[in-house]
Every structure is written in structure tokens, then in C-alpha cells.
Symmetry: D2
Subunit: 424 residues, 4 copies
């Protein structure tokens, strides 16, 4: 028995899906210790937008380490942090005329969401937050209350109060959806807020992902996003966009909502932000909101991670010109082209997505599981998500070579056809 | 105006205490961008037990990066993780006959505590957890409920339920303490649990630090720790030790409780665990407790951090023999020798601690603040903690050279004498 | 200054609306101490279904008092209680084939609702309860969480958790309603329950009034009530009908839902149950639900009120034949005939109701307030309800003489016309 | 099978202890339908301070009913209410220089407590309330959170938050008490409030009974009561005295705390207040606290019960001179004289009490149950209370004839001796 079997907690999960020991990795490939290579359509659950071991980043980090730069600095000022902040301002905030402040929170997405929820409650002096069906926002008690999945919620052991879930406004209706989402749902909600006898009061914030990744690759419509933003403004609530999984270029632009004409009060970033897959999280906060924070009210040990600043700085350089984003668009087209026929052929399959996050909804978790297993055997790392795990999620590195992308897509399509046949 | 002033959130704190930009660091020294060197008695809030830029670790990390090893792997199996786990088993668990499983949680201490709280609630089917006065366990909603500090709690914006605070059992009574701590307090608690009309029921767990670091360097007595452990067992509650700040050798032994004859069900580790100051957190869980977890019930993106595994592996090597722990003892003696005279000279000063975490309680936050500021000017980084910030906390790297230690102590003692005089 | 001004709490309310001191009362008339008579369309907020000082009841009570019968008996067995229970079984339960048990709770409606909520949570081991917009269920902390009105909720001082509000299913859409009620809303809810990633889970119970009295005289459609009942059964939740204000014959039948083909698990009764206006409350509980109670788990001092049993016994006699219920139908017709023209004449007026509870929705609270004040001056006691107090509620004794009814209606219609003119 | 067996809810309790059907009652006697008489040491759980069917009261009520006086009037002004209020002011408030306002709440003790808790939270803008071990304050969700008994709390089905329990300060230590009560416990609490890192904050109110009735006849010491009052004032919390069971003359004075030199902000009254055992409840509230109420914020249907006003008015007449209170003192002496020998003879028996509420703590619930059962057979109604039901509680009408009192005491003492022998 290996040390994993003997000593690792029963809670371990992905290592059960991919029962090998990985050793090396490069861009969109991982290699196990027996030398077998896998194409990676999972990318560390959306962390590795710039590929495994991105050479620009590893070189920069090695150089930084060799120079004796400060590695860990809490929220002190460092030259590494300054470089990152200046570049972020220049490349991301300035061009968008965004006045947002940067808050470096503990280096996990959940920490960013927790901080955003605290601040929204502080600013509005309200307690309730509206999140959305199928949303995923983290696993600590505050963010878990906003996470919709019943399995995760069931582990809390205490009631998850002060968050309510409203139907998410999908661009196209999910297969078999009964929740009645869309703009009408927001109209109803507005009616409830206006009625002082409804039992429902305006929230501190609306918290949403523009593309729900864990929730099954559900893409919000522009109309719905704008309606949420309008409603938020109308009732004095903040708009918080959790861009943790689909920000950082994933959808073809730095923020997932760049083409949505909304102006969030708080934006949560993590995952790809550290470039190389090392932890980092940051909230962008409008100044008029940020001023409600008092110094040190939400702290954490690992807020000043120079390795993530250095690698993240390299990541930002990908947004200095349009090259990568153009590539995302062309690769997204390749992906859609490969998968669309499945959508057309099978009523039980729906293809959804935006940019390089695409979901292949195969209607049942069993089927998706079979596809994931078969793909793994065929050399493709891919994972499922969504209700009951019914959606196979494609979220490869944005830097994946076309060759690898096409090879992976072929494995996926062939496998899907086979599984569909077997489960017909 | 710098980017920090213009763009960093109002919540920033340490950078206000140390208003310079740090650039380089080595062992117990940090250097600002103007080349001024500071002796570091703060060590990243207890993260950098093995010093800044520990060369064994940076070399190992550089080598790993150059080799193309997997950097980010969620909870998949990797060769880097195996090495770390095998070494941890061999050096830490086996010699202590500990059967505990390792759960790699999101890479922050708060995540470890949240996971432990969830599991305790699951195992016992109870909701309440007993934490202790002055305890610090994190800032996300679950762990924040266990954190005692009113300032931090006030930022929650919602009620912090399902945790109650009992008096912590200090080895020696704090200056001006009125809480009535000690073993008697546990006897009273046992009485309440036994009385079915008390309104108080046994908790899911007792959650404690053996030495409260943020809480003011309060050292629990052995008698009290054992009484908590006994009471926990008696009422069917788990014992959770949060060893995040004082584990990893800080007190002169790997775990802070190695000499306490207690056997915690769950131990939370983070901070020093990643060696170099990169994020990592882990819970050690008894197998009979761990089996209550179902796969994936508490997840997080950054659970498989190879850089932390690689550097952490080097950190573990410091526990292969007694050298470092012997040094801790001798350096602790030096620290006590330097500070004890202050304790004796001033009724308003108390010196407390264990191993290389020592608190200089100067009775008021104003005084401590003045000392911290003066020390900074004199080239010493040190911070305050405890109720109202009244305790100056010494938590230098365990690897600090005696010369730096003594130099830093001299600055601290001189400054303290001066400030005591000014505020007399 | 009177003792009321000097010594009664600031919370007093109705005495501000009717600033006289009442002395005598008979059937549908109250007389103030100056001898001025008022027609009563308020009937003690729906308590006095059988009129003030109903002679059959006062005689029975006087006789009982003179006989030396037990007056107060907690939940001991008494001959008075037996008579009441036997008659209730014979007149109400048997003819409807209802197997329900009778639980005598503390003598207030809120106590009945609290007990029902506890039991539903016990039976299902779930915490959340679904109540509906504009519902009113009481003012103690448990029932208040189910009460929708923001003003009442605002007095709680703590969060009102574990109840969520869904749109109520009105027979006809309220003026200006935006909540999107009706059966579709239940379909959406079913969709959310089925989706394990919705963040919404099936409740312990659905708690509703078939006609919302305080909420503005909103009458549920039969279709919607049946859909709620079906959904409850489907998801393993109880159906609780709060018939406190509209049961006991108010709508033309003993239960307000007798013509609705639903079969509630728990029915809450109070108000009219004690006949004479003395306190009493009772839950009717299906045996398979009731068996989850252990003896004494929900107690209260005033559960065994013989005066209420004796007068309530007389009240039950009104249901031995169809006379009173036939009268209710004919009087309801008179009321509708008088008010319908207002509905037709003014787009800002809507007339709603069932049996002898009728609401005159005049669109604004200011207008309703003016009507109530003018009516009072003209000798009619009537009150407003609903969102912002915009609905004038007619809820006269069921036993009101036609002459008084018509006189009161004339006052109301004239006043309304005048106020409409003034506020046009 | 009787209708009770067939149709009454499983929750029924006292009727299981006294398995007969009661028919008549007079002063301290109840008669079952077979004509068997019982001496009543239970008095409707402390309601019937002036005896069953008190003739002065039944006469007044009959006269009132015959006169056609308003019976039910919500919170409107009535002549009956004015008489009661004027008399209450004259007899109770004026002589004590109390400026308190009268709030007539829903006619149950729990309603009074709920209203008091709401108001305290409103006034202080705090959420937590401190109640005490073994306290009983009601069964609705708000008051239940303050009730200490685990059995009652277990029926809530949701967490009971925002109330914490501190050790009650008994005059003499209970048998086997381990809770560490007394003034020291308040000193510790003060210490926790002062320490901003304790995790404990000052409450909205301290809620207590001066003699815990249901909790086991625990009598608070004067020293402790004053210390609570001092602490409350010091930390800006209200002092609420729940005098529901032991007010109205039970302890030898109108209020149970008349000899305690404390000045409660809110006093809850119910039970004996309505004189005859009909429901009524009232809070006495200091004007500066009362002004935080807005009209109608805490309502309820049965707030204006003329029968209770009329009978309660007669009850107040008992406090116009010292006769009844003198009798209470002399009867209390008789009771103590009879029971004290048991206390002296048995180490497992403790006699506690004040005025005419006396507890016979026989150390186990089994023993107390046997005594209650045997007494019933011998013609004495008495009940048990306290932790595990270990305390036999004597709470006869204050108007009990000495002959009945002595007869009842003889039954109790003989029975106790017998049971002690059997269980030795």
C-alpha cells in the first residue's frame, strides 16, 4: 500500500478519478511516473490558464529566488508586489477606467468571497445576500452558504443562513431545467422587495458568476446580467462578480464580463491570478465601498506571496496585446466545431460555453462519469461538474497547442459517441 | 503617490506599521529598497520558522522548477506530494505512534480550522463548538466564530453562532485577568453539561491553541490541557488542537503539545508547514474520525502545491535530529534572560512564552505600539498582539543567528525601558 | 390625563384608532361610555364570529361558574373539556372523516403556529419552513419568522431564520402585484427542490392561510392550494393550514378549506374557537404526525380554560345544522352587492373576499386610513390591513342582523366615495 | 375508550399524572367526577393564588357578564380595563414609586417574555440575552431559547441562538450542584465583558426569576440579585425579572423581589394576574425603555380580556391591606415546620423556598415521581419540577385553609417517609 492509501484522508477525490502518480507537466500535458503522457483539459480546475510550468514564469520565479527577494511578506510593501500592482493597474484597470482598489486576501478563492460578503454586509448594514442556483463560491462557512450544491452544503453541520438562492439567468435554457430562470425571475424578485408585506427584503449584495463553472458551465445572458445590475443599484445592494474560475482570460477577455456592460462593485479573482498555479487571491473594490474597511479587519497569513506576484506579473503580460485573447477565440471555435455535432445528434446532449470553457451536458452523471473514465484511459484528463455531475467540462490551458487541443477533442468526441451508444 | 497609496485597499495594516518597501530577505533579516536592514522578530507572523529564503529550500525549489515537476495538482497524487507525505509519516507520525491521516485542505490556516469544525460536527451530530477566550483561529465565517477578538468579529456582519467561548487555562495568570480561568472553570463546565436543566449541552469539539499566539502569547498549563482532553473524552467531544502558529518546532518540539500528554483527534497545521513561506495547510485526523468524510466534501483549488511540498520536505529534515530543537531551547534561554529583568523591574510588565514564542505584556496597547514603532526605527521588526494590542510578541525565525537575536533583544529592551520611562 | 395616557405602553394601537372608552357590547354593536353606539365590522379582529356577549354563551358560562365547575385545569381532564372534545369530534371531525387528534396549546394563535412548526420540524428532521408573502402567523419568534410584514419582523431584534417566503397564490391578481404568484411559482419551486445544485431544499412544511386576513384579504385559488398540497406530499413536507382567523365558519363553512379538496396534516385554530372571545387555541394533527410528540414537550399554563370550553361548546352548536352557514352566504351576498359597484367604478379599488371576510383594497394606506377614521366618526368600527394598510377589512360577526349590516355598509360605501373624491 | 384517549394529542401530560376527570373545584380542593376530593398543592402550576372559583371573583365576573360589558376588546380602551389599570397603579405601582408603564401582551407568560426580549434587543441594539441555568421562560421560540431544560429545548427543531446561560445564584447550594454559581460567577462574566478578546460581549439583557419555580424552586440570594443588577447597569444591559410564577403574592409580597433592593427595567407578569385562572399577561416597563416601542409592533388577539380584568381587579384587592400577605407568612411557616425535619433527617433531601413556594428536593426524579403518585392516591395533587424532575413542588393557593394545608402536608410527609424507606 502506498502512503496515499495508508495515510491520506478519506476525503481525497481527484486522485480516485485519475489513479496514477503525476511527476512532470508542461503546458497542456501531464506525465505520470511511468512516463505516460496525458493531455490536460482540466488545467487544475481552471488555474493553469497559461499552462503547466509556463517557462516565462518559472524563469522569472527562479531568477527571483536566486536574487534573494522577499518571498513571504504578509501585507507589507515589497518591490515584487509593487511591480504586480503597477502592472495590474496599467494593463487591467486603467484601460477600463476602473477606479477599483486591490485587496489581497488570503490566497484562496473562498477567502476572496468571504471578504466580499463581509464588506457588502458592512456597507449596507444588511445581512442577506442573494446568490444563484448552481453557483459555486467556496467551502468555508460564509462562502459555503452561497454555494448551491447540496453535497457540499451537507458537510457544514450547521445551518447556512443569510444567503438565499435565486434562479440563475442562463443564456440558453439548460436541458430539462424547471427553475424558471431569466429576467422574469428578477422582475418577481423586484416585486417582492417593493412589497413591505412580502417577507423578503433587499439584500446586501447579489453574488454571481457570469459563467458558472462548477455549476455546469451555465452562461448568463447579457440581458439577465444587466437586469441583476440594475436591480442591485435600485435596491441599494452591491453587485459582486466572482470571476475566480472564468476571469483571467478564460472567456476571451481579461474579465469574463468585459462585454456585458456591467460595473461590479466587487470582483473576486484567484485561480489563474498567480500565473503558475501558486496561490493568490484578490478583490477589486470600488473606492466608495472599500472605505468601509478598517485596517486589518480581514487578515490572513499568506496575503503577500512574492512567487505568485512574480509569476502573476508574467501572466499579466499576456494581456498587453491581443495575441492570447485572439488565440482563445480561435481555439474556442475549434472546440465548438468539434462538439457541436454531438449537440445536434443527441437530444440528451447540450453544448454550452463561452471562450475556452465549454460544457458538454450529457444529461446524467453516470454517463459523464463513464466519459471521464474512458478519456483518462485514452490519455485525456477531463472532469465533470454540474448537477449530479452531468456535465463534462473542457477548460484546457489557454496556451494549449492546437495539435494537443485537437487530439484531446478527438478522444473526447470518440469516447462520447461510444458511451452514448452504450447507454442508449 | 505610490501605487500602494493609490490602489491598495484601506484594509492594509502591517504596511502602515512598517512604512517602507521591502526588497530582499535572508534568514532573520529583511532589507528595504533603500538598503536598510532590519532584524526580523516577526517572521511573517510565525510562518518563517526556518528563516527567509532558506537556502536548502530555495535550492530544492529551483531544482524542482527546472526539472519540470508538476507545480499545481489539486488533490491528485504527485511524486512531490508522496515524498512529503512519506517523510512526514517517518519523521513526525511514526515516532509518536500517531495513526492520524493527512488531509490537505485549502492552503490557509482558516481552511484547516473550517474543515476540522465541519468534521467534528459531522462525527458528533452536534453543532456547538467550545473555543477559548483570546483564541485566534481565522477570519472566514466558521473559524471567525471561534476567534475571540471583538474587532475581527465585528467585521462579520452576521451573528457568529454555534461557538461559545470559555476561559483559557493560562499557565500563569495574565496581568489583571478577571476571567477566572484554570481547571476550576472546566469543572464548572462539566457540571453544566451534566445538568440537563443547565441550558448548556456538550459540544462537538473543544478547539484550542496550546499557546495562544495572536491572543497575547498565553501559554496553557499542562494540567488544564489534560483536563480539557479528559472532559472532551467524557462528553463525547473531539479535541482539536490548532497548532498553526506554534507547531513546526516553534516551542522546542515539532508539535507544541509534545510534552503535554494529550492526544488530539484533529491537529491543524499551516504557516511553517510549507517551509519557505509559501501556502500550505494540513489537518492530521485520527482514522476513526476521518472515516466520516466522504470524498470531496471539503475541497479547494490550491491543495496540491508542489513548491510547498518540496520546501516543506526540507523543513521536515530539520526534525530528523535534535540540532534545531536544541538551538531553540538555547535561544529561548537567551530571550528569557534578556527580558526577565523587565518583568522583575516593572509590575506592569509580564514576560510569558514557551520556546521561541515570547510575549512581553506591557499592560497597554499604547505602550506596545510605541515600542513597536521605536524598534522599527531602530531596525527591528516586531509586532504586538493580545487584548488591545498590549503584548509585544517575539517570534523570530528558529534559525536566527545568536548575534542577530542578541542585537534584536538589545534594541527591544532599550526601547522598552525608554518607553516605560516616558509613560510612567 | 387618563390612566391610559399615563400608564399604558407606547405600543398600544387600536385605542389610537378608536379614541373612546368602550363599555357595553351586544352582537354587532359596541357602546362607549358616553352611550354612543358603534356597528362593529371588526369583531375583535375576527374573534367574535358569534357576536359580542352571545347570550347562549354568557348564559352557559354563568351557569358553569355558578355550579362551581373547574375553571383552570392545565391539561388535566375535566368534564367541560370532555364535552367540548366530544362535540368537536361529532360536529367537525366525524362528518369529514378526519382522524386528526386535538392538541390544546397555549391559548393564542401564535402558540398554535409555534407548536405546529416544532412538530413539522421534528417529523421531517428538516429545519426550513415555507410560508407565503403577506402571510400573518403571529408575533413570537418562531411564528414571527413566518409572518411576512416588515414592520412586525423589524421588531424581532435578531435574524428570523429557517423560514422562507414564496409568492401566495391569489385567486385574482392583486392590484399592482408584481410577485408572480400562482401555480407557476410552485412549478419553479418544484424544479429547485429537484435540482440538487439549486441551493434550495424541500422544507419541513408549507404553512399557509387559505384566505390571508391580516395580509389584505387575499383569497387563495383552489388550484393553487391543491398544487401546494401536492408539492408538499411529493417532497415529504407537511401541509399546515393556519385557519385561525378564517376558520370557525367565517367563509361559509367550518373550515375555510372545506371546499378546496385538500387534506392538511395540521390545522391551527384559535380566535373564534372559544366562542365568546375568551382565549383558546387548538391544533388538529393527523395521528401519524401527532405520534412524534412526547408528553409535555410543548406546554403552557392556560391550556385548560373551562370558560372557553363551555362557550366554545355553544359555538359548535352553530354548526349542527346549516342555518348559520346559510346566513353567512346570504350576508356575504349583501356585502358584495354593496361593494361591487366601488370595484367597478374605481380602477384603484378592488373588492376581494370569501364568505364574510371581505377586503376593500383602495390602493394606498393613506386612503384606507381616512376611510377608517371617517367610518369611526360615523359610527362604524372597521380596520385596515394588507401591505401599507391599504385594504379596509370587513369582518363583522357572522350573527350580525341584516339591518346593522346594511347600515354599516352604507356608512362604508358613502365614506369611501367621499374619500375617493377627496383623494382623486 | 374515552375521547381523551381517542382524540387528545400524545403530548398531553398532567392528565397522565392525575388519571381522573375533574369536575368541580373550590379554593384548595378539586373534585373528580366520581366525587372524590383532592387537596390541591399545585394550584394550576401557580396560577390559582386566590384559590379555585374564588367567590369574590366569580361573583364579579357573573355580574359583569350579566351587565353586558365588553368581553373582548383587543387593545381598545374599556371601562373594565381602566378599573384594572387604575387599581394596579394605586395598589402596586404608586406605593413603590414605580414609574413603569403597563403593556398588555398576548395572554400567556411566554408572550410577555418574548415581548420583553424584543424590547431589550431594540433598546440596546444587541442580540444576545443572558438567562440562567434551570430558568424557565416559556415554549415559543424566543422564550424557549431562554429556557434551560434540555427536554423542552430538544423540541425546537432549530438552533436556539442569541441566548446564553450563566449559573443561577442560589441562596443555598443545591444538592450536588457543580455549576459554580454565586457572585463569583458574575465577577468572571464581568471580566469577560471587559476583555475585548474574550469572544464574549455584553448582552441586551439579563433575564431571571428570583425564585426559579419550574427549575426546581431555586431561590436567588439577595447578594447575587443585586450583583446581577449592578452588572447589568454597568454594561448597559436591561434587567428583566420574569415574575410570572412567583409574583402576585406567592412569596409573601406582591413582587417576589420587593425585599431585594433591585429595580428591574421590565417585569413580566401572568399566571395569577387574571385572578380566576383566566389568561392574562402584562409587562411593566420603565418609561425610558417603553418609548422604544412603536404602536402595534408586538400585537396579539387576546390582549383585552375583560373577564381577566374584572377578576384580576378583585385579586388586586387582596393587596390593599396586609391580611393575605400575613397569612402567606404564617402558612409558609407551617409548611417549613412540617418539611424541615425531612431535610434534617435525610442527606438526600433538601427543603428550599420562599413564602408559599417550597421545593422538596429528593435527589432523584424516580423518587419524586413515586411521591407524586402516592400523594395523588392519598388525595393530594402535587407535582415535581427541577432537573430530572427531582423536586416536589408545593405551591398551594395562598388562600388555602390551614386545615387543608396541614392535611396536605401530612400526606406529603408520610408519603415521603414511605418512599424514602422504600428507595433507601
Amino acid at each position: 500500500m502506498s502512503v496515499f492509501d495508508q495515510r491520506e484522508s478519506n476525503i481525497r477525490a481527484y486522485c480516485r478519478v485519475y489513479p496514477v502518480v503525476f511527476d512532470k507537466a508542461n503546458n497542456a500535458r501531464q506525465t505520470d511516473e511511468d512516463g505516460k503522457e496525458y493531455i490536460d483539459f482540466f488545467a487544475g480546475a481552471g488555474v493553469l490558464n497559461f499552462g503547466h510550468n509556463n517557462e516565462r514564469m518559472t524563469n522569472a520565479v527562479i531568477e527571483y529566488l536566486q536574487s534573494g527577494g522577499v518571498i513571504h511578506a504578509l501585507d507589507m510593501k515589497t518591490t515584487a508586489k509593487r511591480k504586480f500592482m503597477e502592472r495590474f493597474e496599467k494593463i487591467v484597470l486603467k484601460p477600463r477606467n476602473m477606479s477599483h482598489k486591490m485587496q489581497f486576501v488570503g490566497p484562496t478563492g473562498t477567502n476572496a468571497v468571504e471578504a466580499a460578503m463581509k464588506l457588502a454586509r458592512r456597507v449596507t448594514a444588511r445581512q442577506d445576500i442573494v446568490a444563484f442556483t448552481r453557483g459555486f463560491h467556496g467551502m468555508t462557512l460564509g462562502s459555503l452558504a452561497a454555494t448551491a450544491n447540496r453535497y457540499f452544503r451537507g458537510a457544514a453541520g450547521v445551518p447556512l443562513n443569510h444567503v438565499s438562492h435565486q434562479p440563475f439567468g442562463c443564456e440558453k435554457p439548460c436541458l430539462g431545467c424547471e427553475a424558471g430562470c431569466g429576467v422574469e425571475s428578477l422582475e418577481r424578485l423586484r416585486g417582492l422587495y417593493r412589497d413591505t408585506s412580502s417577507g423578503v427584503t433587499p439584500p446586501a449584495a447579489f453574488l454571481l458568476e457570469t459563467v458558472q463553472a462548477e455549476g455546469g458551465v451555465n452562461v448568463a445572458s447579457k440581458e439577465w446580467l444587466q437586469a441583476v445590475a440594475t436591480l442591485a443599484k435600485e435596491v441599494g445592494a452591491l453587485l459582486i462578480v466572482d470571476d475566480i474560475q472564468v476571469g483571467m482570460g478564460r472567456t476571451g477577455s481579461f474579465f469574463s464580463f468585459d462585454d456585458m456592460d456591467i460595473d461590479p462593485d466587487i470582483i473576486c479573482l484567484a485561480k489563474g491570478l498567480g500565473g503558475l498555479g501558486t496561490p493568490m487571491a484578490m478583490n477589486l473594490i470600488k473606492p466608495e465601498v472599500d472605505e468601509y474597511w478598517s485596517p486589518g479587519e480581514h487578515t490572513g497569513t499568506f496575503r503577500g506571496q512574492s512567487i505568485s506576484f512574480v509569476a502573476g506579473n508574467e501572466a499579466l503580460s499576456y494581456f498587453e496585446d491581443d495575441d492570447l485573447m485572439d488565440e482563445v477565440k480561435s481555439k474556442a471555435a475549434i472546440m465548438n466545431q468539434a462538439l457541436q455535432p454531438l449537440d445536434e445528434q443527441f437530444t440528451m446532449i447540450q453544448v454550452r460555453g463561452k471562450g475556452m470553457i465549454i460544457g458538454l451536458d450529457v444529461s446524467t452523471g453516470e454517463r459523464a462519469k463513464a466519459i471521464v473514465e474512458e478519456c483518462f484511459k485514452a490519455g485525456l484528463l477531463i472532469a465533470s461538474c454540474g448537477t449530479g455531475g452531468r456535465v463534462v467540462k473542457l477548460i484546457p490551458p489557454l496556451t494549449i497547442p492546437d495539435e494537443d487541443l485537437e487530439k484531446g477533442l478527438k478522444i473526447l468526441v470518440d469516447t462520447t459517441l461510444k458511451v452514448m451508444e452504450e447507454t442508449a
